[in-house]
Point group: C2
Chain length 461, copies 2
């Protein structure tokens, strides 16, 4: 109790600290409005997706992307630009093909999920058993599954906050292990996506202890529709499947780090960023070239406006997609540094619609000027503290670092997420600029306000 | 001149023929409105795309589709249901892969065009030269093209009547021969399509005399965007390409024919239909399962309403996609029969927005009741006679057979046309029903009106 009271007193002291250390609202507004004409975020997104393209975690392309990032960040005038490497497991997609061989022969469009096993070289052929949901698969008698190809076809609906991805995504993350433990020879899931195109959604899945790796793939949504219809005819359905995916040792990945040094080294770091790696099928425009681009463009604007109080650190994380390796490596390497605040952009490039916080309660008054400055961009405030976070900043958050989020409209995010369709043409330059303006606003205030926003324990309410 | 006057007199005689031979407007309206609740067109489209799937011209799947059609048409109660076979050249797609190897290594999504040649087994690699249009390619000095991969990137805009497909589509139809004759080792075109997905648009192209077959492929639109951006960097661009497509002799194709016999064998046939074959990448839902489904469902409704004056013939044409082989075979085999009118549905399944005619001028008054009966469906009338037609009915039209068209809204047709995305989920059941209602209206009137609509020479104004 005493500790909490002391913390509250410290917070109130911070709130009453000289306004001189903060930034004037009219200056924030000017920076925000100028950012609505930003071209840098587009330039970075266009450059990374064009000159590198797909950037699978651990790949040679991801290494080229790191070099590209270092060159770009140095050219923009950031300080302390460097790469911090770490090892990641290497999974090779190889090829995948499937066809219904009975009762209605035709091929299917699908993509292997991360860490999928291969079929035998000549392929495998088995009868299909279908399930409507993860719960149905979990409830099934293993005797009905043994030797079969499992098909799980739960549909995901689009939502502004992307919330269906958590529960429905479990089919991808955990379904393969459940199917394997029940004796399935392979698993096909309906893509975890909201589109209607022949572009399957890949994504990582992890084998749980004791689950033998099997081929695990996602059907494009129209193909899942088709397999549902074929199964409904009531005749035995056989699929022939050939997959050459494989795990192949360890490779180097890395985070790219760049600073805008602050006036007060003791004021702590405001960390922003996104992830540099992408899935291999698309060019990772919305996931997540736009995230590194938006946050870098905003940091550059604050840098150019004069030295901030706090150091702004931009991190382009590596190997997010395959298991948050970059975020974990960063948290380990920088555990002793004081992080005043962290925020990640990793939900596309559509408009920011909401500002969310996960700060200590005493710091909530210091969030109000941010909310007020964001409002003219059409951004509302999430009234529930504790709902901010980010995948690459997860370990930082667990260690008590306070977080904020600028939530993007995710209604069409899962049309593109982890597919070949995640390409530059899906980004609306005007919406991208609104993002840069929001992040510029956020940084203008938080990098110049000495308020202690944390620590926050437990990290999530 | 005398002939024309005689024809006019004959037409006016027909117009003043006993109304007893015609159908009452209220009966037409009742048939039209009942068709707005049609389920048969959906049933046929769903069945054909699910139980057969892709139906490439000359393939074993197209043969299965013919058997499926015969069974379905017999079960529906049509008479004289049979298959008329003919030979077609057989082209095998095989595999195709491409990657930019310099300056920015990354793979590209593309599909071979019909009749494309293969690369050498180990692939080919060459520098790329880009052109904005067919005209720019035609104007180019062969010395700049020799040994290179030609890239033509003209964009097509969506239009309600699909009219850009004619001129822009020439890049696909004729571009490969032009590139080959100028010494190109391969040609990549921007997909002839209006979407923004990683689903390339295939389609037929024909080698002109003296053009050596080369690999000819279409890039998905986002990939064409990407290659444009890469070329704009101004560095030499190299692509490695492997294609195993090949011509492989001759196969059987066929038309499926079904009649609703009329009361008066001398009144001529009203021919309606669509094509049964599809490209191999999708399941041919909008191109053209829906076309055979709509026309068949409408003919079934007229059949069930009592024997019409004229015979209604439904034709599910084979091998349209690879060069209108089915239409040509039909016209040859049935040249001696009297066709009172012909009409094809081959432009998707979106709403019919316009009624067009290509009849002899004297028959225009007989088109008026059709236009009036279609108007409640939101269908306007094309005031210019001579603008009806259809790909499979082209040879009939050339021989003087009068035509009408129920023009569908094609604004999004070329988002899907000839891609893997041409699947059942793209069809809106309500719009499909509006199509059936329009065709039912058309058949109710024309199959019961003794007016001579033709012959029409020249076929097009």
């Amino acid at each position: 109790m005493t500790k909490k009271i002391l913390a509250a007193l410290a917070a109130s002291a911070a709130l009453s600290s000289p306004l001189a250390a903060q930034i004037a609202p009219e200056k924030v507004a000017a920076l925000r409005d100028a950012a609505l004409k930003d071209d840098l975020a587009w330039d970075i997104t266009e450059g990374l997706t064009t000159e590198i393209g797909p950037r699978q975690a651990g790949s040679e392309a991801e290494a080229r992307a790191r070099d590209w990032a270092v060159e770009k960040l140095k050219a923009l005038g950031f300080q302390n630009v460097h790469i911090e490497t770490f090892d990641v497991p290497w999974w090779e997609r190889g090829d995948a093909s499937a066809e219904i061989t009975a009762p209605f022969p035709q091929s299917l469009t699908l993509a292997a999920l991360g860490n999928s096993a291969a079929t035998p070289a000549k392929g495998l052929s088995a009868e299909v058993i279908g399930f409507d949901s993860m719960a149905a698969l979990e409830a099934a008698d293993p005797a009905t599954i043994k030797g079969k190809i499992v098909f799980v076809t739960h549909r995901m609906q689009p939502a502004q906050d992307g919330s269906p991805y958590g529960p429905v995504g479990q089919i991808r993350r955990a379904g393969p292990s459940v199917a394997s433990k029940k004796g399935a020879v392979a698993i096909l899931i309906r893509s975890i996506g909201t589109d209607h195109h022949r572009v399957p959604h890949t994504g990582v899945q992890a084998w749980t202890d004791g689950a033998k790796p099997i081929p695990a793939l996602a059907l494009a949504n129209p193909d899942a529709d088709q397999l549902e219809r074929v199964l409904k005819r009531g005749k035995p359905v056989t699929i022939a499947l050939t997959v050459t995916a494989r795990m192949a040792g360890t490779r180097k990945s890395g985070n790219v780090i760049a600073d805008v040094p602050g006036r007060d080294p003791n004021a702590g770091i405001v960390l922003v960023g996104g992830h540099l790696d992408s899935w291999d099928l698309g060019t990772g425009a919305i996931d997540d070239a736009s995230g590194v681009a938006i946050t870098t463009a905003a940091a550059k604007r604050i840098m150019d406006a004069g030295q901030p109080l706090r150091t702004i650190r931009v991190v382009w994380f590596g190997s997010e997609e395959i298991g948050l390796f970059g975020g974990a490596a960063y948290a380990r390497a920088h555990a002793k540094e004081k992080h005043a605040l962290a925020a990640e952009s990793d939900f596309g490039a559509d408009r920011v619609w909401r500002f969310s916080t996960a700060v200590k309660p005493e710091a909530l008054p210091a969030m109000k000027p941010i909310a007020e400055a964001l409002a003219p961009l059409g951004i509302v405030t999430n009234r529930k503290n504790g709902e901010a976070g980010g995948s690459d900043t997860d370990d930082l958050q667990r260690s008590g670092v306070p977080m904020v989020s600028l939530n993007q409209d995710g209604t069409r995010y899962f049309d593109l997420h982890h597919t070949a369709d995640d390409t530059l043409d899906k980004i609306d330059p005007e919406q991208l600029r609104q993002n840069v303006a929001a992040w510029t606003t956020l940084l203008a205030i938080t990098a110049n306000d000495p308020t202690e926003y944390g620590p926050v324990t437990p990290p999530r309410e």
